[in-house]
Amino acid sequence: MPLGLSLAPKVLASKSLTSWVTPIAHWYANLAGYRKYGLKYDDLIIEEYEDVQRAIGRLTPRERYDRAFRMKRASHASVLHSVLPKEQWTEPEKDVRFLTPHVQEVEKEDKERAMWDTVFVSRK
């Protein structure tokens, strides 16, 4: 389970809950600090999973290149013990989930394969 549990769909389903939680979510995301290193949230997904590897393979070449670039830049900043200059921070609107949909699709395929592997057939 590389993605872990998420309450986001439940929260987004309710309008009032969304308006309550959104400011807290933004505050938390900024506090987490990854944006100061120029990363996107999906760069934090643990990639040492087969599913995630397959999902990364489904990114467009441009997305793959940009992801590698952000990681390189972030590790360099980490070596220097400082965050990036402010103009290179990830803007909240650019912090989109580019990998999660692919991971979810791969998980769905795994689930379907498991279903077909164990399916019990009866003729009508």
Binding site: R58, H102, W116, V119
Partner: protein, 424 residues
Amino acid sequence: MLAARTSSRTVQRIARNFATVVDSAGIKVAAVDNNQPTASVTFLVKAGSRFEPKPGVAHGLKNFAFKSSAKRTALGTVRESEIYGGVLSASLSREHLALTAEFLRGDEQYFVDVLTSFITSARFTPHEYNEYVSPVVESEIEESKLNPGFQAIEAAHAVAFHNGLGSSLLAAPHNSITHEDIRSFAQSTFTRDNVAVLGTGIDQATLTSLVEQSLNKMSTTSQLSSSTSSYFGGETRLQAHGGIQTVFVGFGSAGVPTPEIVALSAYLSPTPSVKWSQGSSPIAAALPEGTAVEVIYMPYTDASLFGFLVQGPTGSAVKEAGKVAVQALKTASNGLKGDDLKKALAKAKFAAASAVDSREGLVSVLGSKVLFGRESSLDSTLTSLDKVSESAFAKAASTLVKVKPVFVAVGDVATLPYVDELGL
């Protein structure tokens, strides 16, 4: 005393039920039910390589068949079809893409649904192209490199017809095809007037209603275009190593294929009617040891290519065999005398009739005729062969030989003959 016994049994004649084409709101449906134990449904689409907007897209589309659609995923299609015990296949020719499902009688609802959901709602995802389609495309290209006969015929089409019919069945080894190219080709070709449905072992009414249900939302007009073919002719030599030495000598013609050429290829074909015998073809008797000549006749809707595929272990043996074949063709082009022509016509008629016995044969024989709305029965093919006269044959054969030939040599090009060395 013993009166001649008349048999009381009446031999029940099983009337062959031939495909009738029903045009149901733009989709041509033809079904044949001869009470065979299995049924098959073929969706024949005008999506062959001659219609492709970019080289190799038709090949990509063929390998995209039965991948994920709006109704089920690629894995789901495979597993569910296995549960039903059916076989799904896709094959590509220069004019048609055939998507076929073979299954037990009674499962038609599921399998027609698999075929129509691919036609109407295939997803053409980029990762499926990268993970499933493009590896198969590449391996088919690799495999074709080991088959000099296939290479020779591909090259012959390119030389004979240039564009359109000349475009290769397979994609190029290093191509720039994307899933988007394939998707837009599929959108332009999967339309009502481009699709014909052929069923065997299935009732016409059942098939029509199943097809109508699922294809009612399909758009009518196609944006496909292919210029009418014209024949050019020429020579090309391809260096190859390791394979058998191969030469293709061909004569093409634009226009609707004629039955005279079918008779000519039946007359010349050295394949014996009885195994391990020599046969009475004028080529068979004179062939050098170890060489083989295959008569190739490829009819298309608006052109045809007739020729010899000559194969042998060395260039000089191929040259000898090629000379024999060309000499036989030249003799035959002066016309055939009574019995020879009758024999050729009988062979051609048998070949045409027995082709219809198999499912693949039925689809290939009826397919193009059904799609182009012509008379689709074996009888019409046989009567057209019956009408071949000595004079018509001589005229057709001599015009065929007069055109500039197609010549392709594949193998050791230093030893393989040139076109003038074969006596042309």
